[in-house]
Structure formats: C-alpha cells, structure tokens
C-alpha cells in the first residue's frame, strides 16, 4: 500500500490533461461540416488540430515536472 507520507499534493497543472478528453469526446460538438478550411470540413480539421494541441498541452506539464531536477 502507498505510504501516506509519499502522497504528493494534487497539482492543478494536471487538469490540463483533461482537455484532450473533453475535446475528443464531445462528438456532437464537432460533428459538423462548417466552418470549412481549404475545403476540409470542420469534423476533419478539428480532430487533426487536436492531435497537435493534445501534444502541445503535455509540454508545459513536462517542463513543470522536470524543472530543477533531473528525474522526470
């Protein structure tokens, strides 16, 4: 069992990890054609965009976790 002494306090920065879930699972929101970009319907470019945003969100968390230490 995890020792209580090792329990780290919850960090709000981890809430960022929920964003991709909200974005990717709100299907009725993005299940539409307009607005199109360069002829690509919203449904498609929105989800492709979230691949990039999902990765981008991890970057600040990564740096927040690893700052001032060499373990990560």
């Amino acid at each position: 069992m995890d020792k209580p002494a090792r329990k780290r306090p919850f960090r709000p920065v981890y809430l960022l990890l929920l964003l991709p879930f909200v974005a990717a699972l709100s299907v009725p929101f993005y299940n539409r054609v307009d607005p199109e970009i360069a002829g690509i319907p919203f449904f498609y470019w929105y989800q492709l965009l979230w691949i990039v945003l999902g990765a981008a969100i991890l970057i600040p968390i990564y740096f927040w976790e690893t700052r001032g230490s060499d373990r990560g």
Binding site: L25, I51, I57
Partner: protein, 519 residues
C-alpha cells in the same frame, strides 16, 4: 494484376536492405544477447529518439495504415475514430506509464504480468494477465501479414510460386518474408525492429507527405475530394430521441481503444525498453507526429473514392480478393509513378515487419517469464530463459503464418476485435495496480473473468461483426464499445469484492514493491 518491374525492383531492394540491417542490429549497442532483458528489451537502453521510432513502428502498424483508410473508403466518417483514439493515448501514456517503467526498472520486470506478480503476490493473476496478452496479440500479428499480402499482390508478384522439385508453393512470398523476419528476430532480438523502424518511418513519412500533396493536386484539391463523398458518409448520423446513435459508438471506440492500446504486450515491451521515464514522457509529446500521419492516411480513403478506383477494371481482381483493404494500394498504383509505388509499398510491407517482430518478442517474454519460469522450470538459468524466449518467438510467428494461410482472413479480424475487448480487462490489475494495492488479487481475477465473459458475449450478439453493443440506460439506447462497458463491469466487481475480501481476510497483503519504486 500486371507485374510492374520497376516497382518490384525498388520494393525488393528496400526489403533486402532492411533484412541486412536486421541481422546487423545484433552488433548495435552490443549486449549479451543470451540475457532476456538484452534480447527482449534491447538492454533497456533506447533513448528518446530510438524509442520514438520503435514505438511509432510498433503502435502504428501496417494493418492500421491499410484498414483505417479502408474503413473511410467503405463507411466514411466512422473510420476517423482512429484520430480521437490516438489523441487520447498520449495523456494516458504521459501520466501512467512512467510509473510502470520505474517499478519495472527497480525490480527487473520484463512484462506487465511480472509487475502484477510482484505487486499482488498472485501467480494466478499474473498468469491471467500473461495469457490475455498472448492471446490478444496472436491475431494482431496475423493481421500484419494481411497488410503485407495486399501490397505483394498489388505489385503483381504471384502468390503461388513454382519451385523445381517441390511443385507450386502457395503464399511463397509471405513465407519468405516471414522466415527472414523470424531469423533476424531470433538473432538480434528487439534491436532488429528498432533499427528497421528507422528506415520504415523515413519511407512512411515520405509516402504520406507525397500522397497528401500530389494526390489532392491531381484530383483538383481537397474541396473536390470531400465533395465526391456521399453527404451521409461525410459526418456521423445525428442522435435521435431515445438513441444516441453512431456518435456514442464513435466516442466510446476512441476512448476504449486508447485505454486498451498501451496494455498490449508489444506496447509494454516498447515502453520498458526505453532508457528513462523521461524518454517515455518526451515520447508522449512527439509520438503524435505519427497520429497526424495516420489522420492524413485515413483521408486517403476519401481520395480513393474521389479517384474512382473501385470501378477501374485493372483493380477489379484486387478488390475482389481483398475488399476495401485494396483501396489505398489501388490509389497509389493509379496516382504514383512506378518507382514511387515501390517505395510506398515497401513502407507498408516493412511496416508490417516491425510490429510483427516486436509482438512476437513481447509474447515470447510473457511466455518465458510468466509461464515457463513460473510453472515449468522455476530454476532455469538466465541463458536457458533467453533460449526459450527465442524459440517461442519463432513458434508465435509460425502460428500467425499458419493462421493467415490456412484460415479465412475474417477470423483474424474478428479475433483481433475480441483481442481489444480482452486486453482491456487487464487494466485494473496493471494500471490501477500502479496506484493502489487495496484491490484484492482474487477480486481482480473475478473481475477479469467476468469482464472477458461479458465483453465476449456482447460481441457475440453481432456474430462478432462489430465491437459495439447497445446499452439501454434510463430508456436511452447508447451504442457503446463492448471493451468499455465490460471494463466498467470489471472495475465495479473488482472494487466491491476487494472491500469484501479485505474485510474478511486476516493474512497480511503481499507486495514486493515499495512506494519509492514508482519514482
């Protein structure tokens, strides 16, 4: 189909090149290949970049690159669920899997079942995790062969080749490819697919880049491509009163698949072979580059519709033999010059070799550690352990080959679909186990069994044609990926029974791991 000498020459040249690379890999970052962690985990020495190539080649398989656009080609928007799926994999990888890496590193674990064995002190639960992993992976290996078969056929290479003295050998090209693969996996272990993955990925990115620039230009732009799609297939059908419809299937498929993916043995093997937790976290940030490529490849299915490949007479036999899986090869044959077809098809065929090698190594690790060493020969030496793993990796590949040659492809597809439902049932033991020891091993085992039973039953209701099952929640029909609903049952059972068993039990819990092992 007609033979295309230029395409075949380019294809074969690249194939021979990666074969040499596979055998040469034994000497790369040299280690004692008679030790399981050296052969089966590459010595846990792969840094961020090598891990990126290895996991990219491992998680985004040749079959994915054939089947996802085939689904887009056949049914439209539903096939795009692969995108939310790959969006959700990485927050999970970032948060959870560094913990598994740390505890495996501290305790010398090679498989997820090793961890479960140590954490819960139950060899039965570990066996359940190991067997689930092996059974879920076998059809996945078989499907890699399908990807390879499609491109070999599309090149016009005859599947049945006459050999003097032996008569006609059916599926000869597949046989050759797999014997070669088996040989270098045996000799080089995980180093072989890691090295080959670098070449495969270079070819893949070149192909994708060319495809998304050249093909739309020739077809008159993206607007024209999307305009050629049936409006009903372009989006998911909206929810009806009392029925959420395909939208909830789409969301649950994406979420459930993301939860299942990293539990597969080949994912765990790839993750544990990295040199640090940091390498895993960095990979969660850079692996989405492959997701983006996959999203673009999915759109190739629509490009194939716009190019009208299905009605072209030269592709009739291909579609007859492989169905919609032939859409992307047909598109490439129509739009690319011969030499580039050779490159693109090599990317797909080599893309089948990398995951097939890693999957067979992962199965071999599981068998050796959690079945052979646990039940058959507990005092086997380290050398013996590694020897067994090498032999098992051969057996696993032969099994997959037999599967594809002897049985209808449909069986492999249905088993792979079930594999996702089965592997997700190890989530409570493996992922929840990383965070808490409060779950009781017997409760986890019962939850696992009921989850597998319920999930299989739900898939059986559609005669294994689809993995979604309609739940009725407060009078609303909710189509849901069976893996997700059966996992919910599994977790509920495991949690409730854990409360009961822990209250009744007076024996202290066994746990070989310490809080600091999790990093």
């Amino acid at each position: 189909m007609t033979m295309d000498p230029v395409a075949i020459a380019v294809f074969l040249t690249l194939f021979v090149f990666v074969t040499l690379l596979g055998f040469g890999a034994a000497r790369w970052r040299r280690g004692d290949l008679n030790q399981l962690h050296e052969w089966g985990l590459g010595g846990r020495r792969f840094g961020t970049i090598v891990t990126w190539f290895l996991l990219g080649g491992d998680l985004y398989t040749a079959y994915t690159f054939i089947a996802v656009p085939a689904l887009m080609f056949g049914v439209g928007a539903m096939g795009f669920f692969a995108v939310p799926y790959t969006i959700l994999v990485y927050p999970i990888m970032f948060l959870v899997f560094p913990r598994l890496w740390s505890v495996a590193h501290a305790k010398g674990y090679v498989t997820a079942a090793d961890f479960v064995r140590g954490r819960f002190g139950s060899h039965t639960l570990a066996l359940a995790v190991a067997v689930t992993g092996i059974v879920a992976t076998m059809p996945y290996i078989a499907l890699q062969l399908v990807g390879m078969e499609v491109v070999i056929a599309a090149l016009g290479i005859p599947m049945s080749i006459a050999v003097p003295g032996l008569g006609h050998i059916p599926d000869a090209p597949l046989l050759v490819a797999f014997v070669v693969l088996a040989a270098y996996t045996y000799s080089s272990g995980l180093r072989a697919p890691a090295m080959i993955a670098v070449v495969k990925d270079a070819l893949l990115y070149i192909t994708v880049l060319a495809a998304v620039i050249v093909i739309p230009a020739e077809l008159g732009g993206y607007a024209k491509i999307f305009a050629s799609i049936d409006p009903k297939a372009l989006l998911l059908p909206p929810a009806q009163p009392g029925n959420l419809g395909p939208q909830s299937a789409y969301a649950t498929l994406g979420f459930g698949s993301a939860l299942a993916l990293l539990l597969y043995p080949h994912s765990v093997t790839g993750l544990l072979s990295s040199s640090s937790r940091r390498a895993i976290k960095r990979n969660a940030v850079i692996l989405p580059a492959y997701s983006f490529a996959l999203g673009l490849i999915a759109l190739l299915g629509f490009m194939a519709v716009a190019a009208g490949v299905k009605t072209l007479p030269q592709f009739g036999s291909g579609f007859a033999a492989f169905g919609n899986n032939f859409a992307v090869p047909a598109l490439f044959l129509k739009m690319f010059p011969s030499w580039f077809v050779g490159i693109a098809f090599a990317a797909i065929a080599i893309g089948a070799l990398v995951p097939a090698a890693i999957m067979s190594i992962a199965c071999a690790n599981l068998f050796t550690r959690n079945i052979y060493k646990e039940y058959i020969s507990p005092d086997a030496s380290l050398e013996r352990e590694c020897q067994v793993a090498k032999i098992v990796s051969l057996v696993v590949k032969l099994g997959a080959l037999f599967f594809i040659i002897e049985l209808p492809t449909q069986y492999a597809i249905q088993l792979q679909l079930l594999g996702g439902i089965w592997i997700i049932q190890t989530l409570p033991s493996v992922i929840l186990g990383l965070y808490t020891r409060r779950l009781h091993p017997l409760a986890l085992l019962i939850g696992w069994a009921l989850g597998i039973g319920a999930g299989t039953w739900m898939a059986a209701q559609s005669s294994f044609k689809t993995s979604t099952y309609v739940l009725h929640i407060f009078g609303t029909a909710v189509p849901c990926y069976a893996a997700l609903s059966s996992l919910a049952l599994n977790i509920a059972i495991a949690a409730i029974l854990s409360l009961v068993f822990n209250a009744l039990s007076r024996t202290p819990q066994i746990d070989a791991t310490l809080a600091e092992d999790y990093g």
